[in-house]
């Protein structure tokens, strides 16, 4: 069949990009810091968030959106700290997208927040592709996962601002090679901030909270920022 070619040249994910920009504008207006947490399943995102809520809820207006393909177990674990928590059950989808965040915010009615944590679906491939309008992208990397994980999932590590190295309390027991892990991280993102911590023992949690607080202060309205 004779045919003609229609040139288009547009991103397949442009709708997500536009929705993410709209979210960014909305969070800028409310001075809400948005932190998007990515990781493989079982790296300790929820435990890290629990300990983060325990250390921030008394001083800040904190909200949590948590994505999972099924169950609301994580939301229930997180809801005991007094901060509003909303589960997004993604069913077949392996990641959160900007549309899901927008819709969840619409019928949630909570906020505005000083900081909104978004716990993404446990998966290091798909969530890396989707901008959620976040200020800070954190990849949670536990010592049980294998030091070469950043090389296997370069986009997730390359697009993150912070690596939270979790479960440091068992690093020795599992034979974690810290130098090799750092080398892998630096190979995909030389300038990234790395925070070593154990949410269970509390080691390193002060550094993590200080980092979050610096970002909250940077996003706060100018007057408040100067008071802190």
């Amino acid at each position: 069949m004779k045919y003609r070619v229609v040139q288009i040249e547009q991103s397949i994910l442009r709708k997500n990009a536009a929705l993410a920009d709209a979210l960014r504008a909305r969070f800028a207006a409310t001075h809400t810091l948005v932190v998007n947490l990515l990781s493989s399943p079982g790296s300790g995102k929820t435990t890290l968030l629990q300990e983060t809520l325990a250390r921030t809820c008394d001083r800040y207006r904190v909200g949590v959106l948590v994505g999972d393909q099924a169950t609301d177990n994580d939301a229930r674990r997180l809801s005991q700290y007094g901060a509003p928590v909303r589960q997004i059950t993604t069913a077949a989808e392996c990641r959160l997208d900007a549309d899901m965040i927008g819709k969840a915010l619409e019928d949630w009615g909570a906020g505005p927040f000083d900081v909104l944590f978004i716990e993404n679906v446990g998966n290091l491939i798909c969530p890396a592709e989707y901008d959620l309008g976040e200020d800070v992208r954190v990849v949670v990397f536990s010592v049980t996962e294998g030091e070469d994980k950043p090389l296997k999932y370069p986009l997730a590590f390359n697009t993150s601002h912070v690596v939270a190295m979790t479960k440091m309390d068992i690093a020795q027991a599992v034979g974690f090679d810290r130098d090799a892990a750092y080398a892998s991280i630096r190979q995909v993102n030389p300038g990234v901030t790395v925070v070593e911590l154990s949410a269970r023992t509390g080691a390193g949690m002060d550094d993590w909270i200080a980092l979050i607080e610096r970002h909250i202060a940077a996003k706060a309205p100018p007057r408040e920022a100067s008071l802190r």
């Binding site: 045919y3 070619v5 229609v6 288009i8 547009q10 991103s11 397949i12 997208d97 892998s184 030389p190």
Partner: protein, 115 residues
């Protein structure tokens, strides 16, 4: 793993253009898929077939151009293609190259329609 939702996003872009230009049938759609995009071409083709059934793009071919990963090496001051599974490392000088030049593409390029 998210090929079906990518196929649906792609279909949306195709349908918008078809509607705008009064196109009633689409023979083929050309896309560019980067090596770091996390998309498996075969799974995307399979999803495309499912997503387009009963639409203006039904039975259209999906032509995928694979885009290999290319980074910018500051030490070499040149674009380099890292070896597979080596992270973002220059194959010539071994330095880390966090600037991705190509390889993240998920781009709707063009479509073929009857004359």
């Amino acid at each position: 793993m998210h090929e079906l939702s990518v196929a649906l996003n792609l279909l949306e872009g195709v349908q918008e253009t078809a509607l705008r230009d009064g196109i009633e049938r689409i023979l083929a759609v050309h896309v560019r898929v980067g090596a770091l995009s996390g998309i498996a071409p075969d799974a995307l083709k399979f999803s495309w077939e499912l997503a387009t059934a009963g639409t203006v793009a039904a039975d259209s071919a999906l032509r995928i151009e694979d885009v290999p990963l290319v980074v910018f090496c500051e030490r070499c001051a040149a674009e380099r293609a890292p070896r597979a599974a080596s992270g973002l490392v220059c194959p010539s000088c071994g330095s880390a190259c966090p600037t991705i030049v190509r390889g993240r593409e998920l781009q709707l390029v063009a479509m073929e329609v009857p004359e």
